[in-house]
């Protein structure tokens, strides 16, 4: 249990895909203007990282070295495509808003970098916990970003109006505002949890 908590903490905080490794920023910025979009994107990230970890563990000894990563990416695309079809059938407004950024998630650095990492881990359970933590880390950041951007920028919470639209900080709903907010979040994160680049250098 203790090792599970430690691994989760490591994945969510010290190896957070967005705040520590700066991966998956494009889909993060695109889908963090509304909380509903952020939840869907975050869930997709969790399922995709978990699935790609499982696939890379399964094909570890069965496939030639050259195509392991290719197969892993292919399966990530497969999962995202399933999500995309399900969203179009049952949650069309969210699908229309997220648009091309959902397929983009399957080829972000999160899947590339983490797939290599999952392959090197000895136990399958460790790889799965690490994948779950990575997905949860992405989910946490995109949810927080969407919370700030939707509530302060647009004056709504999950689409419910909290205060009049004209009092909202409109710049937060634009890509530039999202980038500025992400910069602030990364700066605050690194102030409290340290700079992963410096830690790497020290090692």
């Amino acid at each position: 249990m203790k090792s599970f908590i430690n691994k989760m903490r490591e994945g969510i905080i010290s190896e957070n895909p967005v705040l520590a490794l700066l991966l998956g920023i494009c889909p993060l910025l695109a889908a963090s203007t509304r909380l509903s979009d952020a939840v869907v994107m975050g869930m997709c990230a969790i399922v995709t990282t978990l699935f790609s970890a499982l696939v890379i563990r399964f094909v570890k000894k069965k496939l030639p070295e050259k195509i392991k990563l290719l197969v892993c990416i292919l399966f990530a695309v497969f999962i995202i495509s399933i999500f995309e079809l399900l969203l179009r059938a049952f949650l069309l407004p969210v699908s229309e808003r997220i648009g091309m950024y959902l397929p983009l998630l399957s080829v972000t650095g999160i899947i590339f970098a983490k797939s290599i990492r999952f392959e090197r881990v000895k136990k399958t359970s460790d790889a799965l916990i690490s994948a779950l933590a990575c997905g949860v880390g992405f989910f946490a950041v995109i949810f927080f970003m969407a919370l700030v951007r939707e509530v302060i920028g647009n004056g709504t919470f999950f689409g419910l109006r909290i205060f009049p639209e004209e009092y909202g900080m409109l710049v937060l709903t634009h890509p530039s505002g999202g980038l500025i907010l992400l910069g602030v979040v990364i700066a605050v994160f690194r102030h409290f949890f340290g700079n992963p680049d410096k830690k790497e250098g020290a090692k």
Binding site: I67, V71, L74, F78, I82, R88, F90, P93, E96, G99
Partner: protein, 205 residues
């Protein structure tokens, strides 16, 4: 003349390459088959979900007892995605048209209700992904109500409208507002073409 060196692959290398290619092709085939199967399974739900906003808008843009889809050919339609006839009993009440035009981020879906004489009854934006400032304000009643009662082609003007056929930009959006005007014009044109075609057919009979 330059000598070209021919590169030969060893039999082991060839075998390895073939093996790798076959594995990748096999996985790709399985994944593609699974996805196309799922697509076929969900096709009806996807089509239904895509039509839902327009179907629910029909009773608002052209209230009637029943609606019937026309066989308007989409290849000639130029941005017209659906055209329904509205009936009160057996009498034609008007037309409901869904058109799409290029917005800032993606297509703007516009539903236009037109009466049997070709006059616009009501216009609604059923889906948009414009910027949250001027672009999203094209859904405002102040802008959309300008189309009501107009027939034929309308033109977009930046300042105040001086003619009956002009629509002015009340929201300050250089891209979204002309896109809506363009979509409404396409709807009027589609209904005009359909009426012309039907009148010709009736005359021939």
């Amino acid at each position: 003349m330059t000598d070209k060196k021919k590169v030969f692959l060893s039999p082991e290398k060839k075998k390895e390459l073939l093996h790798t290619t076959l594995i990748l092709a096999g996985i790709l085939a399985v994944v593609s088959l699974a996805l196309s199967g799922l697509n076929m399974l969900l096709r009806q739900s996807i089509d239904k979900a895509e039509m839902k906003p327009f179907v629910s808008a029909m009773s608002r843009i052209c209230p009637a007892e029943s609606y019937e889809e026309t066989d308007y050919e989409h290849s000639d339609a130029g941005g017209v995605y659906a055209l329904y006839k509205a009936y009160n009993g057996t009498e034609l009440a008007g037309y409901c048209v869904e058109t799409r035009a290029n917005g800032i981020n993606r297509d703007l879906r516009v539903a236009v209700g037109i009466d049997k004489d070709g006059k616009i009854l009501k216009t609604e934006i059923i889906s948009e992904r414009e910027r949250q400032s001027a672009g999203t304000k094209t859904t405002d009643e102040e802008f959309l109500s300008q189309f009501e009662g107009k027939s034929g082609e309308v033109t977009f003007v930046n300042g105040k409208a001086s003619r009956e056929s002009e629509i002015y930009d009340v929201v300050g959006s250089d891209i979204s507002s002309p896109a809506v005007v363009d979509a409404v014009n396409r709807a009027s044109l589609a209904v005009g073409n359909l009426r012309e075609k039907e009148e010709k057919e009736a005359a021939e009979e």
